[in-house]
Amino acid sequence: MSDQTPTLDKSRTQLAAPAAHGVGIELIELTKQYAGQRAPAVDKVSMRIAPGEMVMFLGPSGCGKTTTMKMINRLIEPTSGQILIGGDDVLRLDPSELRRRIGYVIQQIGLFPHMTIAENIGLVPRLLGWSKSRIAERIGELLDLVGLDPSVYRDRYPRQLSGGQQQRVGVARALAADPPVMLMDEPFGATDPITREHLQNEFKRLQQELRKTIIFVTHDFDEAVRLGDRIAVLRERSEIAQFDTPEKILAAPADDYVASFVGSAAAIRRMGLTSVADALRVVRLGPVSTPAHGITVELESSIRDAIDAMLRAGRTQVDVRAADGTLAGSLAFDQVCELWARAQAGEPDVR
């Protein structure tokens, strides 16, 4: 079975019922102290997450990021502190009912091998008392949404699917009851790098449409940068080292700890987040090269790709091709340097 890049059919992604967009999440002095351990596993974490925002919890294993996340759906009971979802105090709700309203995706996927794909996805809606026809319709919708043909996959069993396909079903299952909040614990961590990148890109597109409020745990900095609206870099006991947009973290890591995550080539990675089109808000394209040398990038390409093209061609300038295929102008290395300088200076126009 291949993991072909699925084509998202825009018309099908409009959910039948008005899709529940995200609601805000607030953590207040959230603490987990295990009995018999000196230091708390999570120590007074406070943060506010806006509705529809995708926040990445980034940190090494054992830093408490997963513990923090699991307190939100109460798979782990907090020792003290408060969790508000859409203003509701989570600790006052029945845990099982709470969890039915929070999508949950884990690295090991955890599909139920004795149930078909349809039964896996339909489980929570069934618990919530949806009608059979509504559940069947929803299953078709979700399989389309994650790029699996319902007529092919509905009645298959998890073991008949590849790892990447299983994780798509995992995401579909978490979305089944259209929860406003999703918790994702390294969901793509166990897949091979190529499948992982596919899944990340698909998921990013999906999220642009769904606008769920998502907490996504990862230890992969590139994944955090690729997907996150904001990244919370966590150190031991889930202490927040920096909580900011990927651009800001790349441009100005708060301290050595954050810088160690950013690692080498921070500037290049930072430029991977900015497209040529973004750059046009700050710099103006020069004239198309003459004589034409055929070194081009798309308007939607990242500045990183533009630099890559320059290096490959041994030139300091590339031509930029607009969406209609005509050449819009050229981008020079000097302009990239200027862009970087202005981004470093924190100019708001520079993404």
């Binding site: 949950y104 884990i106 004795h114 489980l123 929570v124 069993y157 073991r159």
Partner: protein, 215 residues
């Protein structure tokens, strides 16, 4: 009279005894399955309690069958009741042990997913963990069944049902006419019942296990 003539002549009785034999085993097995699975479900998460449960059911299995029946007579009298209870006690070990092993073998990620999706512990047990552990549990029941067909012979000693009556009637009068035929007919009957039941178990296992676990 030859063995075959004997069987032909006494077929009605033999079939009645075989039916009794089968029935006493099935009743004991059902009771043991309910009790054993319950014990397994209650103890599988605790290393200590599951150890206590398997050790106890193992110890029960070491009680000589005649002694166990003798102990049960003062409480339950003669006949079917002590026979069924003794057989149920003997079949506990494989069922308890396999229930514990089966539940332990369920992928923890699957249990976490169930809990994270909002299945209560009870629902998770019945809708997820039990169906996944089922092939192992049913194998335990099958092992018990094999054992019980042989042990059930002893029931005849407490005036219980089954082919044991035929075997013991033969053995106690060896040398007399048809004594050997009786013993052989009873023994063969037990073996045939056991084999047929075992074959049935393969079908039972197949039809009670999700196709998703067989692909």
């Amino acid at each position: 009279m030859s063995f075959l003539e004997y069987v032909e002549y006494n077929l009605d009785d033999l079939v009645r005894l075989a039916a009794e034999h089968l029935l006493v085993v099935v009743i004991a097995l059902l009771i043991a399955a309910v009790v054993g699975v319950t014990i397994g479900v209650l103890t599988w998460q605790s290393a200590r309690w599951s150890e206590v449960a398997t050790a106890t059911s193992g110890a029960l299995l070491t009680i000589p069958s005649l002694a166990l029946l003798a102990l049960l007579i003062p409480i339950f009298g003669l006949g079917w009741t002590p026979a069924v209870i003794a057989l149920a006690i003997y079949s506990l070990l494989p069922i308890v042990r396999n229930t514990v092993a089966g539940l332990r073998a369920v992928d923890p990620a699957v249990i976490e997913a169930a809990s994270g999706m909002g299945l209560s512990r009870r629902r998770s047990m019945w809708q997820v963990q039990m169906p996944l552990a089922w092939p192992v549990i049913i194998t335990g029941v099958r092992v018990s069944a094999q054992m019980l067909f042989a042990i059930a012979t002893i029931a005849a000693y407490v005036a219980g049902p089954g082919l044991g009556n035929e075997i013991f009637a033969g053995l106690s009068r060896l040398g007399a006419a048809n004594a050997l035929n009786k013993a052989i007919a009873g023994t063969l009957g037990v073996v045939i019942l056991a084999l047929a039941f075992d074959a049935a178990f393969i079908l039972i296992r197949r039809f009670t296990t999700s196709r998703g676990l067989r692909v």
